[in-house]
């Protein structure tokens, strides 16, 4: 009996490359039509784009771009120092570069959750201080650089990283205040959070640039970068507060009761029991907030600060490079994209890891 069984292979059209193509691209008449339409659109847009960007393009610094129909990447190769670092003195660029490498390596180390411990916290603290010293100078024989001269990617990173670091504790306090049983404090927090979340960031930046100086006593002034930083912190804190509130509301009531029965007071309950669990739940949405904070720092262009976008525009206003906006904007779009892409990928990965199916 058994010898009669013949092993029939599946038809060639159902497996392998052909099978995959049939299954995924031409499974029905409608799909076939759509595939052909999309493929031809891609063919007629991607090929000319590649021709423009790679083949007909000029790459060397200071080449005469008016001669070619292709992209003029020499705008980047000639001006990358200004675009990336603004007015930072060009002879000591090793300092911001080292600082950025430090930041990136700290971020890469922090990707691995197994390494999250107190030492990592200390190394972040030490790293941030060293980065600050490197950028600011003034001690250890380093030439001092005014904060006003910080520009380009340094300013973008300063505003977003420092903004989020400072906004997080504030956001947690606001979230706790909103959950509080004291009506006065609750009202303040709700009012603040809803007010900030209801208005665009640009109105806060306007406030920091034109209204805030009026608030200060006579003779006192704070520089524009710091004022914008305060506005970004205030703005981000309100969003973090809402995210953290989500985590707090997700906590089981039993956790509070158990803490009470152990005789812990409010501070201890929050610090030892509730926040460690609640903050873990909200890590992925916090990364999303970091992404939007990073993107939102570009708005400081409107109040005239020299972040990555503004330094690019100042390059474009040079008569020699006028008319090559596409190349310049694509370059910084790439920088933003790479940063945000890694962050959002990371947040998705965390979401999967932290999802315990509950």
């Amino acid at each position: 009996m058994e010898t009669n069984i013949e092993i029939v292979k599946p038809p060639i059209t159902n497996v392998g490359v052909i099978g995959w193509i049939r299954e995924n691209l031409f499974s029905s008449p409608l799909n076939t039509v759509l595939t052909i339409i999309i493929a031809s659109i891609l063919w007629f847009s991607v090929i000319p784009f590649l021709q423009w960007a790679l083949i007909d393009s000029y790459w060397l610094p200071d080449s005469n771009c008016k001669e070619t129909n292709g992209a003029c990447w020499s705008i980047i190769t000639s001006n990358y120092k200004v675009i990336l670092f603004g007015f930072y003195p060009q002879n000591i660029l090793w300092r911001p570069i080292t600082a950025i490498i430090m930041l990136v390596s700290l971020l890469i180390i922090s990707r691995n959750r197994n390494w999250w411990n107190a030492y990592l916290g200390y190394s972040w603290l030490a790293g941030l201080i060293i980065m600050g010293v490197l950028l600011k100078g003034g001690i250890l024989g380093l030439e001092a650089v005014d904060i006003e001269k910080w520009g380009g990617i340094i300013l973008t990173l300063l505003l977003s990283v420092f903004g989020l670091t400072a906004a997080y504790p504030l956001g947690i306090l606001l979230a706790l205040g909103r959950q509080s049983e004291m009506p006065v404090i609750k009202t303040f927090c709700v009012f603040y959070i809803e007010l900030i979340r209801g208005v665009p960031l640009i109105s806060l930046l306007f406030m920091s640039s034109v209204v805030f100086p009026l608030f200060l006593p006579e003779g006192m002034s704070i520089n524009a970068i710091l004022r914008a930083q305060v506005a970004i912190i205030m703005f981000t804190a309100a969003y973090i507060a809402e995210v953290v509130r989500g985590g707090l509301q997700g906590m089981n009531k039993g956790q509070f009761e158990a803490a009470d029965s152990l005789g812990l007071n409010y501070t201890q309950t929050m610090r030892l029991i509730i926040l460690p669990q609640a903050l873990k739940i909200v890590i992925p949405p916090s990364v999303s907030i970091l992404i939007s904070a990073f993107k939102d720092t570009s708005l400081v262009v409107i109040i005239g600060l020299y972040d990555l976008l503004k330094t690019t525009q100042s390059t474009l206003s040079d008569p020699k490079w006028m008319g090559f906006s596409a190349e310049a904007y694509i370059f910084i779009a790439l920088i933003y994209f790479i940063c945000c892409f890694f962050m959002s990928n990371y947040s998705r990965k965390l979401e999967k890891e932290l999802d315990t199916g509950l």
Binding site: V184, F206, I330
Partner: protein
Amino acid sequence: MSKAINNNTENISFWYDPDKRSVMYQIGAACLFVFVAWYLVSNTMTNLEKQSIATGFGFLNTEAAFEIGESIIEYSAADRYMRALWVGFLNTLLVSFIGIILTVILGTFLGIARLSKNWLINKCAAVYIELFQDIPILLQLFFWYAFFYETLPSPRDAVNPFSGLFLCNRGLIFGIPQSHPVYKYMAIALIFAVIIIFFMKKWAKKRQDLTGKTFPVFYTSITLIIGLPFVCWLIGGAPTEMSIPVLKGFNFKGGMSISPEFAALLLGLVLYTAAFVAEVVRAGIQSVNRGQTEAAKAVGLKSGQVLNLIILPQALRVIIPPLTSQMLNLTKNSSLAVAIGYPDFVSVAGTAINQTGQAIEGVMLIMVVYLIFSLSTSVFMNWYNKKMAIVER
């Protein structure tokens, strides 16, 4: 409960009584708030006096003395600030309204494409969503604005693909029907048709509930929406005269034009927000269990009915709340118009601040306007959630 404890243990000290403590904290917070507010206000008053800047909203009634590039109502530099701000407000509403409609359409397509079984469509949508989400909206606006300004020709060499449509760096200019009283009646007929459809739907549902007979609501609606205005147009004498743009001097006269600022703002906002809406739509569709579709087919519903009666009502419940927040985001992001020179509310208010120096009032106006938007959105959300909660079993 804490009172009961108090009575039993009288030796509890004043500072350790939770009730009294909480009152103390609150009084402390309120005092701190009042003190900080008083300090800031007094500083501001001294500063304003020193710089001799006026206070109050009196400036709204003075002459604005600046031109506004585009406006949907009549406006000139001789008008008052009130009118100028109103123009800005209407411009914000216009760009947000059109933007929201286009975003929802594009976002829905992308969300469905993201779930497509066709590998190519699926991946294209995924790349689009990732790409447009990860580039700051302001950068996208600058890019489109520069694109319109640098690649499009001057009005003299305008691209003219067919008669009555010109594309140049002054924007997109196209012919529109010459104004005629019949168009007003056509608009009224359209509104009338919508009202009829609303009641017809109610009636059809009631009849179906009572008798089980169905009524072709969809086809009747389409006939009414197209038919009523068309009949109106025929009765009005079927005017076909067009207002065609013509090049006069350096610019076009006649027709209607979409400025590059408006086009760049709209394009940037729509492309950016659609990427987020696509994720919302995808999540909404995925939230409906497969069994729902299978069950609906098992009871004999047609695929259109499955979508209309089973999938959409459930998916929309998940989609609508984040969708409204995306719409609100679009409205808030439209404030970036100030960076590319489209006269929205923030841009007009910014000019007013520069001219009068009354920064506090100006920023306050901006905040109030956007708070009105977000408060009305949250009122809508509460209403919607309540309505949905009743349906839920």
